[in-house]
Amino acid sequence: MAEMRYREALNQALAEELERDPNVYLMGQDISVFGGAFKVTEGLMDRFGEKRIRDTPISENTIVGLGVGSAMTGLRPVIELMTINFSLLALDQIINHAAHVRYMFGGQVSVPLVVRMPQGAGHQLGPTHSHSFEALYLHVPGLLVAVPSTATDAKGLLKTAIRDDNPVIFIEHETLYGQRGEVPDDPDFTVPFGLAAIRRAGSDVTIIGISRMAQTAERAAEQLAADHGIEAEVIDPRTLRPLDLDTILESVAKTNRCVIVEEGWPHGGVGANLAALIQEQGFDDLDAPVGRVTGVDAPMPYAKSLEQISFPHEEQVIEATLALFGDRKRASRG
């Protein structure tokens, strides 16, 4: 184990997989000479050369399509889009080709492609640069979606993503790059897809946090315990496809209450989707409606005061959780 930042864990995962498989290559804007807009690929060009660490022009749709073409013919591209906001320019290639060519060609080819990109609000970048799109990509059959919230998962999930034969949308978070964690340095370490992490054990309520919101949920859970005597079980699904619904349902069967926390918009969000699945498959276990805490249903404003109330913080998670318990717990709120 070694302590390192989320971005260093990603860097290590990339280096190890580049080392392991000569057909793995990286491409993206400013990833080579510049080392990546968030410095995730720093040093890789010196080590692996320009053939495998490729700077691209600003042509997102074509970069993804090029990656798909090379994946269909035997390579394993790892594409960095500078942020998830720019992936909107590549939706045609991501949805029509990366996600669908295997199916529409009757299984003749696979697309072992990873598209890495960070998302998230909090830097006052306004409506076009603050998106959270895990729900958008979760919507598409054919794609896998990973949302690592810790340095360890960042490394372990990225290695799994690169080894997987499906196209993987790998969503990092801008505010997590600098966070530290204990990360295994064993090159065989991976985190499997479809296995949720229980971040905190508890028996009163299940709180599911997506991407960075897994951390927000954990902090909220500590406050709920301290201030209200509510022991929350915090689950980080880590991958939204494949989805470890079993772990979620088992937890809800125990706690009988559930709150889902995400940074994205409420309509058609991850929480909407999970709430539907939980009520379909765990209705009898529920003592209260499934709660959702989401980003507000508006574009992201620039003003700091407005931006900060546009995505969830601990307070909203605590409030939504208390609402599931009715007045009894609410009354004890400090």
């Binding site: 057909n23 290559y25 053939k51 490729r54 691209t56 022009p57 042509s59 749709n61 074509t62 970069i63 993804v64 399509g65 090029l66 990656g67 798909v68 073409g69 090379s70 994946a71 269909m72 013919t73 035997g74 390579l75 045609d92 290639q93 029509n96 080709h97 060519v101 295997r102 199916y103 529409m104 060609f105 009757g106 299984g107 003749q108 080819v109 696979s110 059959p141 054919g142 896998l144 997987d164 034969d165 499906n166 499997p192 897809f193 479809g194 296995l195 949720a196 991958t239 496809r241 494949p242 989805l243 470890d244 619904l245 079993d246 699945l277 379909e280 498959q281």
Partner: protein, 348 residues
Amino acid sequence: MADRPLPPPETAVEWLESMTLIRRFEERAGEQYTRAKVGGFLHLAIGEEATIVGAVAALRPTDYMIATYRSHGQALARGSEPGRVMAELFGRVDGLCRGRGGSMHMFDLERRFMGGFGIVGGNLPLAAGFGLTSDYLGSDDATLCQFGDGASNQGTFGETLNLAALWSLPVVFMVTNNQFGMGTSLERHSAQTNLQTKGEGFGVPGMQCDGMDVIDTWAVTSEAMRIAREERQPVLVEALNYRFRGHSIADPEDYRSEDEVLEWSKRDPLVTFGDRLVAEGILNDEQREAIDLQAIETVDAAVAFADASPEPEPSSLYDDVYVLSDQVRGWYSADHRGAGVQKGEDLS
């Protein structure tokens, strides 16, 4: 275009056979569409056979070929079994893509026919990707990417040509200029109508061929492929041709005159090339007729094969959405029709 010499007789006959097969196949596909055996859209390549056969003849078996939603002919020219192409149109299990793709999405990996693609301009980046693989693996395979004049206005056209030139990828981009982007004529959709020049600003030199002439198409494409393969220089080839039918079956063709269609039909590539083979003593009239009858017979057999092929099993609906791993315990797919466990789910 100057008359180029004929290729060796065997080759010339093969080309005529291939073009005739495509013509008869397309005619029959149109007929099956009107009988509701074929659904969705149906884009026929009648009139464009020389562009298809000439271009494919310039490829090695290991070269990659990629085309558009009008690509039954490309699959046939690459050697795909006509029965399997027809079965795909019928949406049957023996179709090239097991009934998942239909007319617009033919694909035959074994023959490196890398697909028909339904989104205009969407296939260009993929072609560059194939070129990158060839380059990366140090092979001398090259890629031929066909697309229409309408696609030359898409962002992917400029983006891909720029990247292909920047990275010296062995790709030939062939813009099939059939004079119309669906129902909008060339001069109404492109400021630059000399399409072979459209790549120059991106560092991609242009060439032009007579897409109604199989020999000229073959010769120019061959040279372009040589440049791409040996000089690692992408090339843009403009193939001038004309489709004799509408954009799709559902096209009333109000945007062009009968005279124009009639004028172009005088240059029907099957007729002109067949006439020449007879005139130069490669074929007699009987042999020429026999080629046509053979094509009709092949297409008859293709229709029978497609008709006999079963519909895909409902239980196969989720096949190939994902490459499933037995290492993964989570759900890949949620099915709203019930709470039952679907294939690929809960493998713990």
